[in-house]
Amino acid sequence: MAEFSWDIRSPLDRALVAGPHGARGDAGVSLTEIRNFDLVQVMARRGKAADVAKAAKARFGVAAPETPKAVGAADAMLIWSGPDQFMVLSKGGKHGIEALGQAFASSASLSDQSHARVLISIAGTKARTMLAKLSSIDLHPDVFAVGSAAATSMDHTSVTLWRGNDRPDGQAVFNLLAFATFAESLWHTVLDSAAEYGVTISHSEEL
């Protein structure tokens, strides 16, 4: 009997080369791929918005977003993804599809998206300048403040973008969920866009 190994591979496993990229000197953009997360799409059923809100509050201790926002809970991030729906981003299976199935049993339909996306965290002094090449939406801090989210497109691909908490040095952090099969292509576009500012590339298992 053969011994199978079920290596888990990020869609960026080949394309991502940790280290510096592009212009030398202080990197203006840092790109960190976050690997191996749980991501569940929660879609409220017809007339069940209130039930879903209640279930989310009970489960996460925070209200689920009803507008384009990303809401942080103790061990999960709830990200608006469209009318009547949000995504639950977490680690370690606590809020995976099976666990959440119970919580939203009669009020929402759940779809596992854990393997369907890549998650890239973008920061640095030139992050917003670089994102202006990819995103048509206004990311000015007055408009896209911490906790803002958007279901939008980049490079003709649907993405979910939200602004996380600022880094300790005050730099804004933009988180990008993109479809896995587009990941390599989008990654190269991101690198092309960021190269002139100097990039530092890494990956992490931490949300």
């Binding site: 290596d7 000015h140 092309d192």
Partner: protein
């Protein structure tokens, strides 16, 4: 060694004399300074002749100092970066710049084609239309190539552009076009009000006409006010000033296009940087402070090198400290032209004469003339004595009829100013005529836009500052900003008086459009031949159709047409204004999307494993799919594909089918929903079962097909074809949200969540037993055909297993979460090693589906019904569904429709090709007996011959009939037999076994 800059003033100008730059023009070395344009450096070096004209190859010099330049067009750079028709007047000088004049052979000074001038009576407007009309076949072969050699401007590089371009978005409250006094004043007001401001300036230096005309603002010399203002703006964090950036268009909803020439001023872009960037700017308000363009007066010889716009003359003198002439003359019809005289005198130059078309001139100018010791002649310039070396003498028709001559080495011309009305008119706006300045000014503008300053017909410095400031303050307020704009910059307004003068009749060619060689007499001819409407005039003479879009010529052309038709200029009207304001390279529009990155690419989860195996990939929409896996020694694709098919049919193989669209359909009404979108019923599908489904468009034609499984009472897993995945998702969302909002159903794309593999062949179950947990029952009873359920795999992960077959073999499809996709491929190889498992690509997949008679894209062609595909029985009669009613229309159920049938050549050795037409045997092919066409073909290793599917009239009734295949594209004719489309295992025993 570069020559001396003979025409450079000793001091002054906005050039950096500590930074000399060497450059070459037509192979000759010159030097200039940082801050020069190529044109100003050529002026400084005394170069007058810079190009030959488009049609007549006449010698041409530099007419302007800006982006309106019609004449001084050069090929800039060499090799792959060579760019034709680059305006010397906007090209920044850099060390090592190389430029070449255009449209001359063998040399600029001696151009053989200038003989065209001698034949000029035949090169009149409409010449091509009239002369090269017959015989028609001569056009492509003889006329056009010859004309293209003789006429035309620069040469394209002819090789791929080595530079990179990109695109970006910007957002602001107030967008300002232009950084002259009006633009900067608008920026001050808007910025102080708290608005987010973007200023686009096409020049590399901010200030607009302030840089050339000076003046006093707020009691300070213009240059000091400029630096103070720029410092104030720089301190505002939300004011962004973009130099080398031309706002070229306005689009709906406050979206603007701008081109930033990021690195055009360097020999090549620094590493990792782009050459140009296309900006899409979203602005709540826009202030067009794009200034005005001085217009020429049309007279004989007005294209002689050394004839220059008066404002350009003073730009060269004051901004660049370069002297186009030592002893110039001025021909003006307005007050403003005299400023060039003042500038020239202040720089220590001489004035030969001023020819003023107005009856009166101011006492101040009269005393300037007597102090400067030059005559003022009332009248007009009627001719030029000069040539490629410049102006020698000018002929003057004096008011009252006498004639005079003036010896001079350069003529400054001012015919008044045309406000830049492009941006304000791009939404089909028509500017209005103002008699007091004899010019068109904006009459309204696209929503959110307003013109200010010279672009609005306000020519005085004080007026520009006031208008700009007011516009900026209002724009900021309209955008919701309530800060205080502070005080408006103050300056005097210069008097502006003008006597309209457009064209002086005389002997010799008088040019209106210098870039396209359109003369005043061409316009008169167009009128005589009936092309009086401005749109006809434009197209018949090509007036204003060159790369400069008639910036210096259109209004004069209209004025001449107005004069010959006896109408007023506003009655004559303008042509429609369209973006872009300046030429924009296609590379800038393409940005990142070129070559390999022309479009986004999707990779399957096992892509890198397949690449390791040496797979040949094929582009399928955005996807890269493994087409086949060649092995050493195989001589062509057919050999590889045949091996893969045989391996599957006799053993086991697998194929990544993750590209199929996959959609989770959830909710209490999921079954009811699917019943409405599919022709067959899904609400009665048992949990744990899969069913083939077919969707129609509302017009009754087949839309898409796929297998849908019921994984839970309220959860179906729907698959689509690869090609239609996105469209089907959109269609289903339309059904859910628009057509059937009462249903409680939720949809999610899970295409990217699952890596899906088809495993096929008689040894499929053997292989699966190796990889699936031993507790799972894979027997025919435990997992029957069309079963679908979750299973555990050895090693702990879970998969979805579907017993479905596209190949006609015993087959399963297995799905694992996508990040396990590559491991799955490796594990299938490992588990199947003992069974000779063979990965196969899309070609083998296609061969096997044709052998099995399954329809696919070529048959689901957007013209076929379910019955055409042999699937008519699937159409439920017990429910409504999309396309039901229209599918019943007479023509869609007619007995003579073309339906899917199998074909095989009567000559077993013959190769089939799709696209061949089917006609009855023995008949001559023609539209009257075309009975269908071949849709799909393959070499069938199983039948050991080529086989195919075809859509043939009444095909199913004609099984066994020999028909004729006619392929006029490839010149092939042969007979084929119509047969059952299921070539392989027609009773389906293998897939059910």
């Amino acid at each position: 060694m570069a020559g001396a800059q003979t025409n450079r003033l000793d001091k002054g100008g906005l050039i950096d004399r500590s930074a000399p730059l060497n450059f070459r023009f037509d192979g000759k070395s010159f030097s200039g300074f940082q801050g020069d344009t190529l044109a100003s450096a050529l002026v400084a070096n005394g170069v007058k002749l810079v190009g030959r004209s488009f049609k007549y190859h006449r010698p041409r010099g530099i007419l302007t100092a800006g982006s309106e330049e019609p004449n001084a067009l050069v090929e800039l750079r060499t090799g792959a970066r060579r760019e034709p028709n680059t305006k010397a007047t906007t090209a920044e000088l850099y060390e090592g710049l190389e430029a070449a004049s255009q449209n001359r052979w063998p040399s600029l000074a001696f151009d053989v084609m200038s003989v065209n001038q001698l034949f000029s009576p035949i090169f009149v407007a409409g010449f091509y239309y009239k002369t090269f009309m017959w015989p028609a076949k001569f056009w492509e072969a003889i006329y056009e190539p010859a004309i293209r050699r003789a006429a035309g401007l620069g040469r394209a590089a002819g090789v791929a552009d080595p530079d990179h371009y990109d695109k970006a978005w910007a957002h602001c409250d107030v967008l300002i076009a232009g950084s002259g006094p009006a633009g900067l004043s608008a920026a001050l007001a808007a910025g102080r009000s708290g608005a987010r401001v973007i200023v686009c300036e096409e020049d590399f230096t901010l200030g607009g006409r302030l840089l050339s005309d000076g003046g006093t603002v707020d009691g300070l010399p213009a240059s000091e006010w400029l630096s103070r203002t720029l410092a104030e703006l720089a301190a505002m964090p939300d004011v962004r000033i973009m130099t080398r950036t031309t706002l070229f268009g306005v689009y709906d909803g406050g979206t603007y296009g701008a081109l930033e020439r990021v690195n055009d001023h360097l020999p090549s872009p620094p590493e990792h940087q782009v050459r140009q960037r296309l900006w899409r700017i979203v602005a709540k308000r826009c202030v067009v402070a794009a200034g005005a363009i001085e217009r020429p007066i049309v007279f004989a010889g007005n294209d002689t090198p050394g004839v220059m716009m008066a404002s350009a003359m003073r730009s060269y003198i004051s901004r660049y400290a370069a002297t186009p002439a030592k002893r110039m003359a001025l021909f003006t019809n307005n007050e403003d032209g005299w400023r060039t005289v003042e500038t020239a005198l202040a720089a220590g130059l001489q004035i030969a004469a001023v020819i003023d078309a107005r009856a009166d001139i101011s006492p101040a100018h009269r005393s300037l003339a007597s102090k400067g010791g030059f005559p003022v002649l009332h009248g007009a310039v009627s001719g030029i004595d000069g040539g490629k070396d410049g102006v020698r003498k000018i002929a003057v028709s004096l008011t009252g009829g006498a004639r005079a001559e003036v010896e001079t080495d350069g003529l400054a011309v001012s015919g008044g100013w045309n406000p830049t009305v492009g941006l304000t008119s791009y939404h089909r706006g028509r500017p209005k005529w103002r008699d007091d300045i004899a010019a068109f000014v904006p009459d309204g503008a696209p929503p959110g836009m307003v013109a200010a300053g010279a672009a609005n017909g306000a020519f005085g410095l004080g007026a520009c500052l006031r208008e700009g400031f007011d516009a900026g303050a209002v724009a900021a307020r309209d955008a919701g900003r309530s800060g205080t704009a502070g005080s408006v910059p103050v300056a005097d307004d210069q008097a502006f008086s003008l006597t309209p003068l457009w064209h002086i009749a005389g002997k010799g060619k008088a040019f209106v459009d210098q870039q396209h060689d359109v003369t005043a007499s061409d316009i008169e001819l167009a009128q005589r031949e009936g092309f009086e409407s401005v749109e006809h005039l434009k197209r018949y003479t090509t007036l204003g159709m060159a790369t400069d879009q008639g910036k210096t010529s259109n209004v004069a052309g209209l004025a001449i047409m107005a004069a010959v038709t006896g109408r007023s200029i506003p009655e004559t009207g303008t042509t429609i204004y369209r973006p872009p304001y300046v030429p924009v390279a296609i590379g800038a529009f393409a940005g990142h999307h070129r070559d390999e990155t022309f479009h986004a690419t999707r990779l399957t989860p096992s892509h890198h494993w397949a690449a390791e195996q040496g797979a040949i990939f094929v582009d399928t929409g955005l996807w890269k799919r493994a087409q086949w896996y060649p092995r050493a020694g195989e001589k062509d694709w057919l050999e590889s594909v045949t091996r893969e098919v045989k391996a599957v049919r006799s053993g086991v193989g697998f194929c990544d089918v993750s590209t199929l669209g996959k959609i989770d359909v959830h909710g209490p009404d999921a079954g009811a929903f699917l019943d409405r979108v599919y022709i067959n019923t899904f609400s009665n599908l048992a949990v744990g079962k899969a069913r083939y489904g077919l969707m129609l468009r509302e017009d009754g034609i087949v839309y898409d097909d796929g297998t849908t499984s019921r994984l839970a009472e309220d959860h179906y897993f729907l698959t689509t074809t690869t090609a239609k995945a996105g469209l089907v998702m959109q269609h289903l969302e339309f059904c859910r949200q628009v057509l059937f909002p009462e249903l409680d159903v939720q949809l999610t794309s899970v295409s990217d969540q699952w890596a899906q593999f088809s495993i096929a062949g008689p040894k499929t179950r053997d292989l699966l037993k190796e990889i699936v947990d031993p507790t799972e029952d894979l027997s025919n009873e435990g997992f029957p055909f069309m079963g679908a359920r979750e299973v555990a795999l050895r090693g702990g992960i879970k998969a979805r297993l579907f017993r479905i077959s596209f190949s006609g073999e015993m087959a399963f499809e297995i799905s694992v979460p996508a990040r396990y996709g590559e491991a799955m491929a490796r594990n299938l190889m490992l588990a199947g090693k003992q069974f000779g498992v063979t990965p196969y690509g899309t070609e083998a997949l296609g061969v096997m589906r044709i052998e099995k008679g399954h329809v696919a894209g070529p048959e689901l062609s957007g013209t076929t019904t379910a019955a055409d595909l042999g699937l008519g029985k699937m159409m439920s009669t017990k429910k409504d569904y999309i396309g039901r009613v229209m599918a019943g229309r007479e023509a869609l159920v007619a007995p003579d429709r073309q339906v899917v049938v199998g074909i095989k050549p009567t000559d077993r050795a013959r190769r089939l090709r799709s696209g061949a037409h089917i006609i009855p045997k023995g008949q001559t092919p023609g539209p009257g007996n075309d009975q269908g066409y071949v849709t799909s073909v393959c070499f069938s290793p199983t039948s050991d011959q080529w086989i195919g599917l075809a859509l043939v009239e009444r095909g199913r009734e004609r099984i066994g009939e020999i028909v004729h295949a006619h392929d006029p594209i490839r010149g092939e004719d042969y007979d084929v037999e119509l047969c059952n489309p299921v070539f392989y295992d027609p009773d389906g025993g293998r897939q059910r076994g």
